[in-house]
């Protein structure tokens, strides 16, 4: 990623404390359009807090967030959605009994034009179905053809695809994916990773939070490593190995030390 490009999402000096517990101690993050930025870190490193601040679920105590170079204040998830930041939560946030089209338009339903919509508040079900089908086709999700189908009748990978499609549709710029492959089998994970690649080709900025190192190294352009509430560093999969990443993540190694010259810590396993 060139330094002259404007990041689609940029956070500077984010601080979030819970009483005396420091969640984030001044974290920076840059995400460029058309890239997958993986965020890794041990439990308690501040990944979830960082994502919560970027998705509007938590309000940082200090620091700034910019979208396309414009400073934004995210006071709720609705604020974040308005500026084009969509989040896919680990528990998917889909309504199982509703069909695919209803889920894609959940909380942003379209009403009929004219008095039917404005007075009787009638939904434009037909238009929503067509648009949902068009968005799915546009995102290259060929496995979901019948938008009338209830989400609970879908496989885990298909449900994940619905959740990702809902987030990626309707002109969003930034996609935050929280452990999108954690609950999936090998083949279904492959489908989701393929979908992420396709979304990257379309120019979305994607933040991928994952514990799955093979997936991270397979798909990420850059890897943001969280450690103890701060950013330990940003690496690229081509220059560093999985072992390096884990070492930095756990504090066994610092980013500025080349791996060969690292002195063996005494007493470490």
């Amino acid at each position: 990623m060139s330094g002259t490009m404007t990041p689609v999402l940029q956070a500077k000096g984010l601080v979030k404390t819970y009483g005396r517990v420091v969640g984030l101690s001044g974290v920076d993050l840059e995400l460029y359009p058309g890239e997958v930025l993986a965020v890794i870190g041990d439990n308690g490193a501040g990944k979830s807090t960082l994502m919560a601040c970027l998705s509007g679920a938590q309000i940082p105590d200090a620091g700034t967030i910019q979208v396309d170079g414009q400073p934004v204040r995210l006071r709720s998830t609705a604020d974040a959605r308005r500026v084009g930041i969509e989040t896919v939560y680990q528990n998917l946030a889909v309504a199982p009994a509703l069909d695919i089209a209803s889920n894609m338009f959940l909380a942003r339903e379209r009403r009929r034009k004219g008095p039917l919509g404005s007075v009787l508040r009638m939904l434009d079900t037909k238009a929503m179905k067509q648009e949902a089908a068009a968005e799915l086709a546009n995102l290259g999700i060929s496995t979901l053809q019948d938008v009338d189908q209830a989400v609970e009748t879908l496989s885990g990978g298909q449900r994940q695809a619905v959740a990702v499609a809902r987030a990626a549709a309707f002109g969003s710029k930034v996609l935050i994916l929280d452990e999108p492959t954690a609950a999936l089998g090998v083949r279904e994970s492959g489908q989701v990773l393929k979908l992420i690649r396709e979304l990257r080709e379309k120019g979305l900025g994607i933040i991928l939070v994952s514990h799955n190192m093979p997936h991270v190294f397979e798909i990420a352009d850059r890897i943001h490593i969280q450690r103890l509430g701060g950013r330990a560093g940003v690496i690229t999969p081509s220059e560093y190995s999985m072992n390096d990443a884990v070492a930095i993540m756990t504090g066994a190694r610092r980013l500025d030390e080349p791996s060969g010259t690292r002195s063996q810590p005494t007493g470490a396993s």
């Binding site: 528990n91 309504a95 199982p96 509703l98 009787l120 939904l123 496995t143």
Partner: protein
């Protein structure tokens, strides 16, 4: 990513494959059908019951008797509209009947003792019902108490308030009072239809429209289905929950009016079983007690089934206790069917 020309190695995971698998067994197909249309099973039960009772006693399907069944269904049928809304949010409301009796008694008493005009008395009944349901709704959404406990408490409270207020009296209004309009009737062919039945039908149409065709309805289903998921999707679930209780309050006010027409005024002991009867109607109607699934029309069918069983078994000369037994078995059967439907897998 250099895309290779033919990477079509996606194994069976298309919807057409799923629909192939769906047709495996007749039971499987039935499960999917009921999953899409939960009101089909009560419709089936109702048709079977009507046919059997008509065969047993020809008087059952006479216009006079069927009109009577419809009139007897009106109060619980209207009350079940409110109950359906609450159960769709994965709640339960044990207080709907108590609120209905309180509202009808206050309205009748205003007319009887203070000569209040009927529109004002009805407005007061609406206010009482909606405020009572607002108390339920606020306790559930703000204090986060379980709906079962909240409404068990308010059921007792509202019943007691009615009895204290009534001082053991019943009120009989003069025929022709507007409050008794719901008990007046007109003829369609040989069928005698009360305005109460018409009012109930209108209530069903309006609320069914709101549930099916508006964003509010979708949000209610989504909130009942998985409240946390609905919240993360951007739905204000607290507001949706509270609105369900408030709209149920309106349905209760309509029921109170229909009740006044049935008992020619107000009787503090008239709706003792109405709470549980409304839940029975909703459950037999195929709405899931776990929330998020079911249809309003099912509740009407459920209320009809209960009355058809009562009436049909009585005409067949069966002891009244067996009618209660039959309804109990229906409830268990309905919940079992719901559990089966919920296990639907593609």
């Amino acid at each position: 990513m250099t895309s290779s020309p033919a990477p079509v190695l996606e194994p069976a995971e298309t919807v057409s494959d799923l629909s192939d698998r769906r047709g495996h067994s007749p039971a499987n197909r039935l499960q999917h059908l009921l999953h899409r249309r939960p009101a089909l099973s009560p419709l089936f039960v109702l048709i079977i019951a009507v046919v059997i009772f008509s065969l047993v006693n020809a008087r059952f399907y006479s216009a006079v008797n069927l009109s009577l069944v419809a009139q007897q269904t009106a109060v619980i049928g209207a009350l079940a509209v409110g109950q359906t809304l609450i159960i769709l949010t994965a709640g339960i409301d044990l207080s709907v009947g108590a609120i209905m009796v309180l509202a009808s008694f206050i309205a009748a008493n205003l007319i009887y003792t203070d000569n209040t005009s009927v529109p004002v008395a009805l407005l007061v009944a609406v206010l009482v019902s909606v405020v009572a349901q607002a108390i339920n709704g606020l306790l559930v959404t703000r204090i986060k108490l379980p709906p079962f406990i909240v409404t068990l408490g308010t059921f007792n409270a509202f019943t007691a308030i009615t009895l204290i207020y009534a001082k053991g009296q019943t009120i009989t209004l003069n025929p022709g009072s507007g409050l008794l309009w719901t008990g007046e009737s007109f003829l369609i062919g040989n069928f005698r239809v009360t305005y109460g039945v018409v009012l109930m039908a209108v209530l069903y149409l309006v609320v069914a429209y709101a549930l099916r065709c508006t964003a509010w309805g979708r949000h209610l289903y989504a909130t009942g289905d998985d409240a946390e998921a609905a919240r993360l999707a951007g739905i204000n679930t607290k507001r949706v929950l509270l609105s369900a209780y408030l709209v149920a309050g309106l349905a209760i006010a309509v029921s109170a009016w229909i009740l006044a027409g049935r008992v020619d005024g107000a009787d503090p002991n008239s709706g003792l079983n109405a709470n549980l009867e409304s839940i029975t109607a909703v459950v037999i109607g195929g709405t899931s007690l776990f929330g998020g699934r079911g249809s309003l029309i099912g509740s009407l069918l459920g209320a009809l089934i209960v009355q058809v069983f009562d009436n049909g078994l009585a005409l067949a000369g069966v002891d009244a206790n067996y009618q209660v037994l039959a309804v109990g078995i229906l409830v268990i059967a309905a919940v079992s069917v719901d559990q089966w439907i919920r296990k639907v897998k593609a």
